[in-house]
């Protein structure tokens, strides 16, 4: 035993020999960890020097490392020109990673049960160190990811990069669009506030409208006829386990296709245009993943992180949190997130109405009437929710999938595919128009008094009434058409703002609120919508540091001659936040 140990000790070299041996041992370890780079090579990589060995050890990383093998060894330079990809696909990946990391942190604190979910979000904002930051990052990252997915889709469409060998890449891309949409949709419910609850209730009610399988689909989705404990849990599991896994898988395939199988496309003018030879040569130069592309991507990462942090720090973005979900009370303006407005807009189109309006005037002609043909009644046949919610979106997705097969034109240059380019531009406008129609204000008639008050102080969100400093809420009765807004308080009214500590003269906020209130109502009266208008704003003390603002409108209903009233009460506390 001992003698063999002694023997081994004796075989260890000394002096420079030993140093060399240790160096080799370390170098070996480094090669294993970096999957192929020696110490010397690492140094060269960091300094931007050419490879130190042959064959290029930087390429070895890509064949040996599992994660790196999703990437190519090099691209042709032209494929990575900023004006070609705009880094949109990369940005989408970046935001996906942001979502995964911030999501893991939020998951530690979030409780997916209806009676605790909302409270746990409040807890994250009020009791978790940097909790609000993580919530904001997660929400901001989600919106950015959806946005960049769409932009990336349009980029690959307009550069014709879905053609030929890249058809499959496009298909996985469309799947990713759907996955991204579903991830954001399921996440929207989790806050369990009025905003999320009703947006998701309206959104998922589309499933119910389907024939035969509709109710069953609804049950699978919601776990019960209405969204409750079961529904929240299902959405939660979809959001944090199932779809992140699917997304990781499909993104990996997408990446693999892009990098290993056929690379990123070259700009069309290089491939088939009349770019100068010099430009073509430049475009075909290699750009290695290690170190050039990798350092570029790290650079983009640093920009992304700084941008995200700055946006949150300077309060340019705040994750909304409305009041607790209430299945009994539909809020006045149910609002989907902006990236689903197009769908909301779609749902406002009633195909039955449109067809009836088109056909019935013709059927009213004496010829048809004499033949005993009655005007069409299509609303039973063509349920708008079903058509617009369940038929149209899958058709759109199907069309997206089919684009490489429909568009058989092999050319990629915009000049050579004018129809495809116009078609793409038309789609941009269709999406924008539908999104505009999806705004809560569009096409939904709210009674004038309700509208005016809702604009002053929406059921969910802030509005100028809630932004009024507590001190300016001077108790009193202010009558529309009688009280002159300018006379609510003179310049002798001053207060020290409890929010900023500054001395404020007058009550500009209150004046603004009352002016808007009066002008809105008086305009409606002038239009004949509110005859015999009588409206007041009543401010009174209701508790310590608590005031009640009552908005009370009455008018005569034209049709019945009855007096109608609409009253809303708001409670405002001295320490409430005046910002969203």
């Amino acid at each position: 035993m001992i003698s063999s140990l002694r023997q081994r000790l004796r075989s260890i070299p000394r002096g420079p020999e030993l140093r060399k041996m240790i160096w080799e041992m370390i170098d070996n370890r480094v090669r294993i960890i970096t999957a192929g780079l020696s110490m010397k090579e690492l140094r060269a990589v960091l300094r931007g020097d050419p490879p130190t060995e042959k064959p290029n050890p930087r390429y070895k990383v890509i064949t040996t490392s599992f994660i790196a093998h999703l990437r190519p060894r090099y691209y042709p330079l032209g494929a990575t020109w900023f004006t070609h990809t705009f880094r949109l696909g990369w940005m989408t990946t970046f935001f996906f990673v942001v979502e995964v990391l911030t999501g893991l942190i939020l998951m530690v604190y979030y409780i997916p049960f209806p009676d605790q979910a909302y409270g746990s979000i409040l807890e994250i904002e009020s009791n978790v160190f940097l909790g609000e930051l993580f919530r904001d990052l997660h929400r901001l990252g989600a919106e950015a990811m959806v946005l960049f997915t769409w932009l990336h889709l349009f980029r690959t469409y307009f550069t014709g990069s879905y053609k030929g060998a890249r058809t499959f890449t496009w298909l996985t891309g469309v799947a990713l669009l759907a996955i991204t949409a579903w991830l954001s949709f399921t996440g929207y419910l989790l806050t369990w506030d009025q905003l999320g609850y009703w947006a998701i209730t309206v959104g998922s009610s589309m499933a119910e409208s389907g024939p035969v399988l509709g109710p069953a689909m609804n049950l699978v989705l919601r776990g019960a006829p209405d969204i409750g404990t079961g529904g929240l849990l299902r959405f939660y599991l979809n959001h944090v386990i199932l779809f992140p896994l699917i997304a990781i898988l499909v993104i990996s395939i997408h990446y693999y296709k892009v990098s290993r199988e056929h690379g990123i496309s070259l700009p069309a003018d290089i491939e088939e245009g009349n770019a100068s030879d010099q430009r073509k040569k430049e475009a075909n130069r290699r750009i290695d993943l290690i170190p050039d592309l990798l350092s570029h991507e790290l650079f983009l990462t640093s920009i992304g992180i700084l941008a995200l942090l700055a946006i949150v720090y300077f309060d340019w973005f705040n994750s909304p949190l409305e009041t607790h979900a209430n299945p009994q009370a539909t809020p006045l303006d149910t609002k989907a997130p902006w990236y689903f407005w197009w769908l909301q807009g779609l749902l406002k189109i009633d195909p039955a109405k449109i067809l009836e309006n088109l056909i019935n005037p013709i059927l009213a002609a004496p010829l048809f009437v004499n033949m005993g043909i009655k005007p069409l009644e299509l609303s039973l046949l063509l349920n708008s929710k079903f058509i617009m919610g369940l038929v149209v979106p899958p058709v759109v997705v199907g069309l997206l999938f089919a684009i490489p097969y429909i568009d058989r034109n092999p050319a990629r240059l915009a000049r050579k595919r004018p129809f495809a380019i116009l078609w793409g531009i038309a789609w941009v406008f269709i999406l924008l128009a539908l999104s505009y129609m999806g705004l809560p204000e569009y096409g939904i008639e709210t009674p004038p008094a309700t509208r005016v008050i809702q604009d002053l102080a929406p059921e969910e969100g802030m509005g100028i009434l809630r932004e009024t400093p507590y001190e300016e809420l001077i108790p009193g009765i202010y009558t529309v058409g009688e009280t002159n807004p300018e006379e609510i308080c003179g310049s002798d009214f001053t207060y020290t703002s409890s929010q900023t500590g500054e001395q404020v003269i007058g009550c500009a906020h209150l004046v603004e609120v009352f002016t808007e209130y009066s002008e809105g109502l008086l305009a409606a009266e002038e239009d004949g919508l509110l005859p015999d208008l009588h409206a007041i704003m009543l401010i009174e003390r209701y508790g310590p540091d608590l005031k009640r603002v009552g908005l009370d409108v009455s008018w005569t209903d034209e049709a019945t001659g009855e007096t109608k009233t609409y009253t809303k009460h708001y409670f405002l506390h001295a320490e409430r936040s005046l910002e969203e």
Partner: protein, 272 residues
Amino acid sequence: MKRIHLEIALGTLFVIASAVLLIIMASEEPARLARFEVEQRAEQIEFGALVFETNCTNCHGSHAQGIPGKAPCLKCPEFFSDRLGEVGWGGSLEDYVVSVVTTGRQVSTRPALYQGEGTGVPVMPTWSDQFGGPLREDQIRAVAAFIVNFESWAAEPEAPEAYPTPLFSVDVNDPIAVGRVAFVQYGCVGCHTVEGLSTATTGPVMNGIATRAAIREGYESAEDYILTSIQNPGDYVVEGFNDGVMPINFGEIISEEDLTNLLAFLMTLTEE
């Protein structure tokens, strides 16, 4: 300088900038958390006030001042100083409120003051949705925050804020309009239905009272009967109702002027 060097330099700068931002945010975080908590409490109180206004004013009065004979004042000094001792509650007042509201009260702890509508009907119903009531736990917590918030007024009962401005905008020279407001403010709405104003059933419906009052026997006039009913409810007990439910001290509480206005208002409620 090659592009890669520029990018490494700028990237390092951005990472440092991000770290600085993060450190600034972290150093401001304790203050933000504290502020958020204060604002959160403020918004909870606002929300509680709304819950109170929609669910509780029928019995506890429009401003939580209580309705004699119907339900107690929830902002008066006694509630804050004596009540916990009276019922032998060991925890905080806020928890007491949460517990009472959650379960309601089958019978009053002060049966002489609050009889309710007879056996079988709780004097205060159960509010928690755990027991079939309409309110969620967060709503009950909010309403408790709202009630406990009254403490500073209760400690200073003379504080001018303790007297709210009137509920509706009315012409102060119109006795009928002012009487209508008094009917709300004195809590008559807690027991009596007046079409368009209240829907309570503890006492008789008030519509048609002017016509009914005129034919009650033993009174000089309709006015005489109504006044007596308010000041001395036991003098004539309406069939189907119990004596002692309508409070007997309105005669002392209500000012001469308000009484005249109330009467003027009730006299407009004739049978069609």
